[in-house]
């Protein structure tokens, strides 16, 4: 039976933890607040160490909180991060996504900095500033940086934040034995989609949408062990999904993956979501890493990386590339479907559209089609935002028990 307006907005017959108000996906003010309270306070992956192979190699990074960063390896081999902002007149220091710079020199007035963030040259310093201001006053703003958990370079804009190890806690325990060897990025591409970043993270946090993926249905859902995969929630909003054996040859033309991954069973698949918007997705034989950079409440940039082992032979690497492309490449079988799915959500729940409820109500003992992974995320989101996801503006009058 269809519903009228009042019935449509009637509180769902679930506990308050089992649904959210769609305005959390569309409201500009909430988005700006998320940048401050969530992204600027969290450890975020900026790049991978293999993207900075040598001294003075740098990578620019658009931090999801909105601040542009430089990530650079010094000649002491230490990777540091700085605001990509000249302390003089606020110009961009480095424009290219990658490069090698012994000195970082602003194009505007030629102020120069070394890879430790020291200002090493102010043009006509004495003539202009006399003794009132000098290079020691003009260092770059350094951002806390740590390398870990597969060789990723993590940054945190909050000088008072906990350590990366404390932030991750036990969440990446399932991957511990599988990331002991150095990794290398072999695939990188971006996608911009008009949707909210949380909806992409949701897609990585629930497997009920495997109904959308023919590949996942035949290689996973129809295979033994699929419905035993369990979600586990961890402190700080992270969540994992247990492994099973994927039957890759069940897809027409598919074949079992020949090249393995350290410690992971053939056909194994582990997925771990890191709050607020990163996902480790390890299928024998490739690690895929998604990092989301929200550009607005309804505009999202996702970075997709594919990683193999640094020690790969050319033949092993070619196999990993092929395995990656089959489902995860820009012309693969799955990725396009996932992006289309969240594009549809962004289209239906765009700013200005009438608010609706979004349900996270499935309970299946935290197994694969349970929506507990998303509930776990929104509990953390609500805590950090000091807003309830089911009633972000306090005007819904939602009762605990409907």
């Amino acid at each position: 039976m269809s519903r009228n307006a009042a019935e449509w907005m009637q509180q769902p017959k679930f506990p308050r933890s089992h649904f959210v108000d769609s305005r959390i996906y569309t409201d500009e003010a909430i988005f700006r607040e998320e940048q401050q309270k969530v992204f600027n306070k969290s450890w975020i992956i900026g790049c991978h160490e293999s993207e900075l192979p040598g001294a003075f190699d740098y990578r620019t990074f658009h931090h999801p909180g909105g601040t542009p960063l430089i990530i650079v390896r010094g000649d002491d081999n230490v990777v540091r991060s700085f605001y990509n902002v000249c302390p003089h007149r606020g110009n961009t220091l480095l424009y290219d996504p990658v490069g090698n710079a012994k000195r970082i020199t602003c194009i505007f007035h030629s102020w120069s900095f070394d890879t430790k963030g020291n200002c090493v040259d102010i043009t006509r310093e004495e003539q202009g500033f006399q003794k009132r201001f000098c290079k020691a006053d003009a260092g770059l703003r350094e951002v806390r940086t740590e390398i870990g958990f597969g060789g990723f370079v993590w940054v945190n804009l909050d000088d008072g934040a906990c350590t990366l190890k404390e932030y991750i806690g036990d969440a990446l325990g399932m991957l511990e034995g599988h990331m002991s060897m150095p990794l290398e990025v072999f695939h990188y591409h971006k996608a911009v989609v008009h949707t909210n970043y949380k909806l992409w993270h949701d897609t990585n946090s629930e497997f009920y949408h495997d109904y959308m993926h023919y590949f996942n249905r035949v290689t996973g859902m129809l295979q033994p062990g699929y419905f035993e995969r369990k979600y586990t929630g961890y402190a700080n909003g992270h969540a994992s999904v247990g492994s099973m054996t994927i039957k890759y040859d069940a897809y027409e033309g598919g074949k079992e993956r020949g090249v393995g991954w350290p410690g992971l069973a053939p056909g194994g698949w582990i997925l771990i979501d890191i709050f607020p918007a990163m996902t480790y997705n390890l299928r024998t034989s490739v690690l895929r890493m998604d990092t989301s950079i929200p550009l607005g409440p309804n505009k999202l940039l996702v970075e997709f990386r594919g990683l193999g082992l640094k020690s790969d032979t050319p033949e092993q690497r070619a196999e990993r590339v092929r395995d990656h492309n089959t489902i995860w490449g820009p012309f693969g079988r799955n990725l396009h479907e996932d992006l289309l799915g969240v594009h549809g959500q962004g289209r239906a729940m765009r700013p200005g559209s009438e608010a609706t409820w979004v349900l996270h109500g499935r309970e299946e003992n935290m197994t694969i089609h349970d929506e507990g992974g998303m509930r776990h995320f929104y509990a953390e989101w609500s805590k950090r935002m000091e807003r309830e996801a089911y009633d972000p503006h306090g005007d819904r009058h939602v009762s605990e028990v409907p």
Binding site: E51, P97, H187, Y188, H189, V192, Y214, E252, G253, H336
Partner: protein, 158 residues
């Protein structure tokens, strides 16, 4: 073997082959597309990522692999916006049976709702064509893409 300019008739036949591949894919007439390809056909999509300083392979299939890919398409969910491929043949270097052809490629996407057309991708076709008799066949196609962002993407090769 030294390369040489093809005869005008051969060049016309080769250009028409390239354009027919575009028309066949635009019409999703995959059988017609594969009929334009040799039995030992190889299809590859490549792109260079400045971000990771690496050349990438995004798709790589032989003729049977392409046939399977096309056969599997209806089993997957796709955006239904039609793509239109525009190729312009730049160079044709003839060397014996095999001819190297470089073409500019532009792919346009047109929305079903309203018919807005946007540039979807640019790149080049780097083709190897076998000219054996009067009908040239595509032996190898490398789609070298400059565009690396496709929004919510596309299942169907260029």
């Amino acid at each position: 073997m030294e390369s040489a300019a093809p005869t005008p008739a051969t060049r016309i036949a080769i250009e028409e082959l390239i354009y027919r591949t575009c028309l066949a894919l635009d019409e999703k007439n995959f059988k017609a597309y594969l009929d334009l390809c040799d039995d030992d056909f190889r299809y590859t999509i490549t792109a260079h990522s400045p971000e990771i300083r690496k050349d990438m392979i995004w798709l790589d299939h032989d003729k049977a692999g392409m046939q399977l890919l096309f056969a599997n398409l209806p089993r997957h969910i796709s955006d239904h916006s039609p793509l239109t491929r525009h190729a312009i043949v730049f160079t044709v270097d003839h060397a014996g049976e095999l001819t190297q052809v470089v073409s500019a490629l532009q792919v346009f996407k047109t929305t079903l709702d309203g018919g807005v057309t946007e540039l979807f991708a640019i790149g080049r076709y780097l083709d190897t064509v076998r000219v054996d008799g009067t009908i040239p066949k595509l032996t190898k196609r490398v789609v070298k893409l400059e565009t690396r962002q496709f929004g919510f993407g596309n299942h169907i090769p260029f």
